[in-house]
Symmetry: C2
Subunit: 897 residues, 2 copies
């Protein structure tokens, strides 16, 4: 079994293909070496060694032999010997997992420095100060990473050996009146090394090892062990990296950027990772080690003159300072980008005039950059369009569509609390506690953040007025979240640290009280709430040509149609601008809350006879006809799926005594009667109660009115020369007989309207598939339905038995304990809910093989879910307007899969 | 195509096998005829003619010819002619469907009497009075059934032609001072016939037909049409008889039991249908027509001396009055029962000394009789044991296990309202409105009916004290229903006509107000509520040897194990007496409501730290250990499945301000704090909220405490020489990681208790499968679970998206509109919920092929559901104690299938 892969001198045992075995860093070092790019030679211990070590806490018996062989090869390339007193080789030991986990695991540098090799190195480098500086760095790192971390009792934070050694350094500096490390002389550093070693002995009870081999194996084991360190484990949880992957370990000859004026070190990107501009971009430091650039103790210089800014114009760039080396580097970066066909993040060191490449990897980039690079590389023929499409994460589109909190300013902001990131983007405003206040303040020209325990449809005007919405309760698909996402508005929900006092108009967070008018900043993309005002960065979609080009490319490949969830003509237009090809869900319940409408609604609910009820319902006809006219017109000739009334009736009744009084007066009924009806409509579990088609079956006149409004609006539009296409959707069907019942009411009404108006029109009647039973009996339902639209919100609720309004009580614990990998309301649960979707598609199509099937739950805007729906054979997904581009991209990526 | 099947004279075209085609009556007439039993000849028009007529409203073209031929055959056997003035044949036209629908369709007798045939019949019968009596009966029936019912405008009830003709009869009788019809002379009846005919002409605008053929076809069509009459349709809805079956029509030669002293008529059963005693049992009337016996206008005589009672001792029996005819009849009934191998319900007529059999069919019987007959017939070798088991409907066992409302007394009782029959049997008592009152009154020696909007666990003491429970809300599996059935107590739920005023202690039903102390009688088997006291008939199971024998027989065949749902040792013992072989569901939440326990529970909920919470929980350990000790002991060595705490925590918190005050004092916390906790625990949909294993995951100390209590009780019993077998059941698992989490807590505790006590014990850890997701991922869950127990209540709630607490809002409409065939909480929905059960069984066993799988929802006591579970491959069903015998029988029947 081969555990050790060598590289260097234009050759390598492995290649970039071997990421799983060699980790990203090791594979890329091998690849660069094979490309004859100057890489300090070395070898990689495979991830298999790690996996095995995690289990057995021991190494394979032949590992030592393989390491010895590889070390010999390295020594031969370098012409140095590890532990050789005359010409000592120093090595670094670094981690390198399949996926980059920056800073999460350990590194040890300068291994091989011992009492025996130090004199040789001094002689050879002719630089005593450099050697003792390297030595004291080795002691610090090694005692911390290898010696202390391997002990059972780890010290509490802040009292570790590293801190104690640094105290010694600081003491020496202050005694000598030095302000910088560079002022320390070779002698100082030598003294320091001795002080360090004796401190290590005292604190850790062991000597700092003076044997190179012991140092090497200590380093290797420490790096492997750091895979299971707390930081790494937490990071893997967050990034969904499996524990069983393990890390590789790279042992590599040290090169030094700090060996004097002809030495330097730097990090760079083959293109600008913040803008995507195709220009070599990076930072470097003269006479420094790599960690100095990353650590930020010294301000690095710009890499080249082209990328100098106002702030860096005075600094010398590498092309100015070392033009030869720069040219070599520039050639290499071009070769690397071309070889990997992607923007590279590289690290280099120049040791006494010689350039060494230490790392190359695919560079991280933000959304703006990702889009531009993908488009430009495709246009340049560097990558094909499929690759370009896959280069942009759908979530990255979000970044460019919303104003965002400036991440630099955010770092130093006064963090208050974290909730669920329900509506991306940033929001800054003065806090208010009621929807009415939000509106009033907004009208006075103030920016507000609406802070509520939860929102209800009656808060919609205030939500609209606010820059951001912050709620203490609710999940990612709560009312606040749904409405906010529909508008692309910043929103944080389920922020359970909020303790709101509505009477006093204050909110207390971790003991700090904030009052109405105080400023908050919300980062809706991360769910973080800050005290005060943080700068927002505004998006500018129109001036971004790459966005449109990417969308065009995506549209060439995707087979899923993308619709939108929209309840108003405005939303419909927004979505259409983002590329929506129809409305997949037009909810009608929001249409009944305007004062002049809610009265009729309430009158209907309070009716004692069918006649009274029908009369009250028919008062709503004109309003509804107008609603549907507007929406059908905005979307014509694309289809508009209109869902019939869905929520339980009690949602329309007044809540407070005052409202009840008012209503009683208005309708000339007694308060007791209203109270009694409210009580009789009270349900223990309204989500599973008298709602959806159960309403239309109990009160067919509601369905009749809505159907009439839809069809009369259709006729009106046809008369005006439009070609509207309504799809009437019956909600919450669990059994085919429910659909048959409602379908008859609808088709009878269509016939009647056609007869009355003398105009024929096309329409469809279908159903929402949002109950497990509907999925299980989809073959029967398909006999009646002309289309299916999955309502995956409710389907998730019923499949899991989770109330999305109440999930806040245990979801955080569930995610924490890894009982759930993710919130199933955000990304579809493929094993459970998804299984039902597949069953329903299969059963439905077994009866109607061309059955149109879509999905209109919140999952329609989630990339992973879109991918799932594509593979499940759906015809379309429907999502909120601001998610349409994301869905388009995700659908294309799914089609490319 | 053959539409007409003749019978008579020892021959027949059809046989008893042809029930689907000829209906029950026609098939049996054919069968009797083939057996050479004297049957008046006739013919049957098939159900296919009916089905065709319902669709096309016309007859096949060759039907007339076939009827004519059959009529000729009949005439030839009888030596009479239909319409022959000299020797006229009269016929009856009767319905006869595949399943008996007594009295639901129409009959016309004496067809063939016309102005032309009357003189001939008078001459031949030498009985003018008889002929005109027959004629006026024909006019009455025909004008009503054929002439009026065929008109488009049916008159409102009470103004029909039948009533108007009867008014004429009554007028004549009162003018003449007669009190009985028999006082009318031939001349009177002749006059009456003329008056009738002219009234028919006036009212219906048509002449009564004087043509025999017109009469015949009128009769045939009227009978076919009555298949779609309101009564028949309603009956079919109730009995689940498909509309497409149709009825056959039997045309048969009339024989007359009212032709003088040597004529008679009677109905009889080959065994007593009320007791099952093997004795020929029936009633007869001299000189009467069959309808007179059924109509109950004259008190009929007992059939034989053996069956005379105190009340009928003075009446002459048929064996005394017509010994020869009786002997022939007795022979025939013996042959019929033996031939059909089942108790027969027969009708006969003796016309002038000649016995004719008019009908035989399987006799209806009550539960007591069904059991006795089945057992005795099996013991006598008349039927095999499988047949015997299938002869008893599982529901019939219910009748003999509960006191029941006397059905005779019930007929004349003051009916108030109808709810859902949630707990079978009868209950009589004075109404009270609180659980405390129920208990107090009961202690004063009064019988009470507890009337509530709904019940909660805090009402349990009052429910126990009551003779019956009546609620305005809730479904068949509401709290009240579950608890009542567990005790075998009479209970009616969801009686929405109740308008309860708790303050005034009154209930208003349809405008009538009743106050505390008024008497109600509940029929829990039908859901009917009556004003006043109705006599109850008490069951006596111990003195019924047949019950035990039937159960023994059933146990030989069934393969399903029957367990019980029981939370107390008493319930466990009751169930064991009924044959339960373990506890399938021991709920633990009821155990926390006693005053000394609820305090600790509330303290736990109000805890701010894990330590406080653990401390409060551990206060419950002693109680729980005692609970489990009792139950495990009562059931040992059979297994006891204990479900860990399941309901949301808010159920344990105080409801009223007063209770909150008390608690605040007791726990030394502020009222505000309690109030705040109550608010924070409030959920919009608690059924889908923080409950089930979600509690144990958030608060593992609850699971730890319960596991410790279970295992310590187990150890104690083992030390006492018992062999308890606990099965710990984790509720509401939706994903395997939930089960893994809880299983670890439980097995760790088991290990700890074993170590502490130094005793090893057996136990299992399994899960309730009650969410669609659990079914869909049952393969994963089976890797962790040692058993599955379907919780079909919650599974039905989530699969349908129905809250069983709120279903009352629309279920009645759904059943009425036939959107649901039955309440899915009563009998399992095989297509939806059942499909999930099958998926889960298959997936679960794919990973563990011997996985023990049961069901502990309410469906465990429903025969249709038990049958389904048997075929789905379950190992056991668990039901409330009083359903155990029903489940045993249903399981046997399923195994015999």
């Amino acid at each position: 079994m081969k555990y050790v892969y060598s590289f260097g001198n234009g050759k390598a045992d492995g290649s970039a293909e071997d990421k799983n075995l060699l980790g990203g860093k090791g594979a890329n070092l091998a690849e660069m070496s094979s490309l004859d790019i100057p890489v300090p030679p070395g070898f990689t211990l495979t991830t298999e060694v790690c996996v095995n070590y995690m289990k057995e806490h021991s190494y394979p018996s032949d590992l030592t032999g393989q390491v010895d062989d590889a070390m010999k090869q390295m020594e031969s390339i370098m012409g140095q010997g590890f532990g050789d007193p005359e010409n000592p080789l120093l090595v670094s030991v670094r981690s390198g997992a399949r996926m980059s986990m920056p800073g999460m695991m350990e590194t040890v540098l300068n291994l091989g420095l011992t009492s025996k090799t130090i004199p040789g190195l001094i002689k050879k480098s002719n630089n005593e100060r450099f050697v003792y500086d390297a030595y004291r760095r080795l002691i610090t790192m090694y005692s911390d990473v290898v010696m202390e971390k391997s002990m059972d009792d780890e010290p509490a934070d802040g009292e570790g050996i590293r801190e104690q050694l640094e105290d010694i350094l600081e003491n020496m500096k202050s005694e000598k009146g030095f302000s910088s490390d560079t002022e320390l002389s070779a002698t100082d550093l030598k003294t320091l090394s001795e002080l360090y070693k004796s401190k290590v002995k005292t604190v850790l009870g062991k000597n700092f090892p003076d044997d190179p081999s012991e140092q090497l194996w200590g380093g290797i084991t420490a790096v492997f062990s750091s895979w299971d360190g707390k930081r790494a484990v937490n990071y893997r949880r967050i990034e969904n990296i499996p524990d069983h992957w393990g890390t590789a370990v790279n042992v590599q000859a040290m090169v030094f950027g700090n060996m004097g004026a002809s030495s330097a070190t730097g990090v760079a990107f083959t293109r600008n990772p913040g803008t995507g501009e195709n220009i070599f971009f990076g930072e470097w430091l003269a006479n420094a080690q790599g960690e100095d650039v990353v650590a930020g103790l010294r301000t690095p210089n710009p890499l080249n003159t082209e990328t100098k800014t106002e702030d860096t114009a005075h600094l010398v760039s590498l092309d100015e300072f070392m033009p030869e080396n720069y040219k070599t580097l520039d050639d290499i970066q071009k070769r690397l980008e071309s070889h990997y066909s992607d923007m590279q993040d590289i690290e280099f060191t120049i040791q006494e005039g010689t350039l060494w490449m230490l790392q190359t990897r695919v560079g991280k980039r933000n959304g703006t950059a990702a889009i531009r690079m993908a488009v430009e590389m495709a246009e340049a023929g560097q990558i094909d369009e499929k690759t370009a499409i896959n280069r942009v994460k759908p979530e990255q589109l979000d970044e460019i569509m919303h104003p965002n909190v400036d991440s630099n300013a955010e770092k130093n902001a006064d963090f208050l609390a974290k909730g669920l990131p329900a509506g991306p983007g940033g929001g800054v405003g003065q806090i208010v506690f009621t929807a009415d206040d939000a509106e009033t303040w907004k009208n006075e020209g103030k920016n507000v953040i609406l802070v509520r325990n939860e929102t209800s449809p009656e808060d919609v005007h205030g939500m609209h007025a606010a820059e951001g919405i912050l709620t203490a309760k609710g999940g990612m698909t709560s009312h606040a979240a749904l409405v906010a996402r529909g508008w692309g508005k910043c929103c944080i929900v389920g922020c359970s640290d909020l303790d709101i006092n509505r009477t006093k108009k204050t909110v207390t967070i971790s003991g700090r009280e904030f009052k109405e008018g105080d400023w908050f900043t919300l980062n809706g993309s991360t769910g973080k709430v800050y005290n005060g005002q943080i700068k927002l960065i505004e998006p500018d979609l129109d001036s971004n040509p790459y966005f449109g080009k990417l969308m065009e490319m995506a549209d060439k490949f995707r087979t899923l149609t993308i619709r939108t969830n929209a309840d108003t003509p405005d939303d419909a237009k927004t979505a259409r601008n983002f590329g929506a090809e129809g409305i997949g869900l037009c909810r009608t319940e929001h249409m009944f809350f305007e004062p002049e409408r809610i009265v009729s609604m309430r009158q209907m609910i309070l009716s004692n006879t069918e006649d009274e009820r029908r009369h009250a319902v028919m008062n709503l006809l004109d309003f509804q006809r107008e609603d549907f006219y507007g929406i059908l017109k905005a979307m014509a000739p694309d289809p508009v799926t209109i869902r019939l009334l869905d929520p339980p009736l009690h949602e329309f009744l007044p809540q407070t005594d005052e409202q009840i009084m008012e209503l009683a007066e208005e309708l000339q009924v007694s308060r007791e009667e209203i109270q009694k009806r409210i009580e009789s409509l009270h349900e223990l579990n309204p989500m599973l109660g008298h709602r959806g088609c159960r309403l239309g079956i109990a009160y067919p006149e509601i369905t009749e009115m809505q159907a009439r409004a839809i069809f009369e609006a259709t006729v009106k539009l046809i008369e005006e020369g439009e070609t509207p296409f309504p799809e009437v959707m019956v909600p919450l069907v669990g059994t085919v007989s429910e659909l048959s019942h409602q379908k008859k009411v609808i088709t009878d009404m269509a016939d009647l309207v056609m007869e009355e108006k003398g105009i024929r029109f096309d329409y469809m009647v279908g159903t929402m598939i949002e109950l497990p039973r509907a999925c299980l009996t989809a073959d029967q339902i398909a006999e009646e339905a002309e289309f299916f639209s999955f309502g995956t919100n409710d389907l998730t609720q019923t499949t899991y038995g989770f109330s999305r309004d109440d999930i806040g009580g245990f979801l955080p614990a569930y995610l924490q304990e890894k009982i759930l990998a993710h919130d199933p309301f955000q990304s579809i649960d493929q094993q459970g809910v998804g299984e039902l979707v597949k069953i329903a598609v299969e059963k439905g199509r077994s009866k109607k093989n061309k059955l149109k099937i879509g999905i209109c739950g919140e999952h329609g805007g989630d990339p992973d879910s879109v991918r799932f729906f594509h593979h499940a054979g759906l015809n379309y997904v429907s999502c909120s307007p601001f998610r349409v581009p994301i869905a388009r991209l995700a659908a294309a990526q799914a089609a490319i899969d």
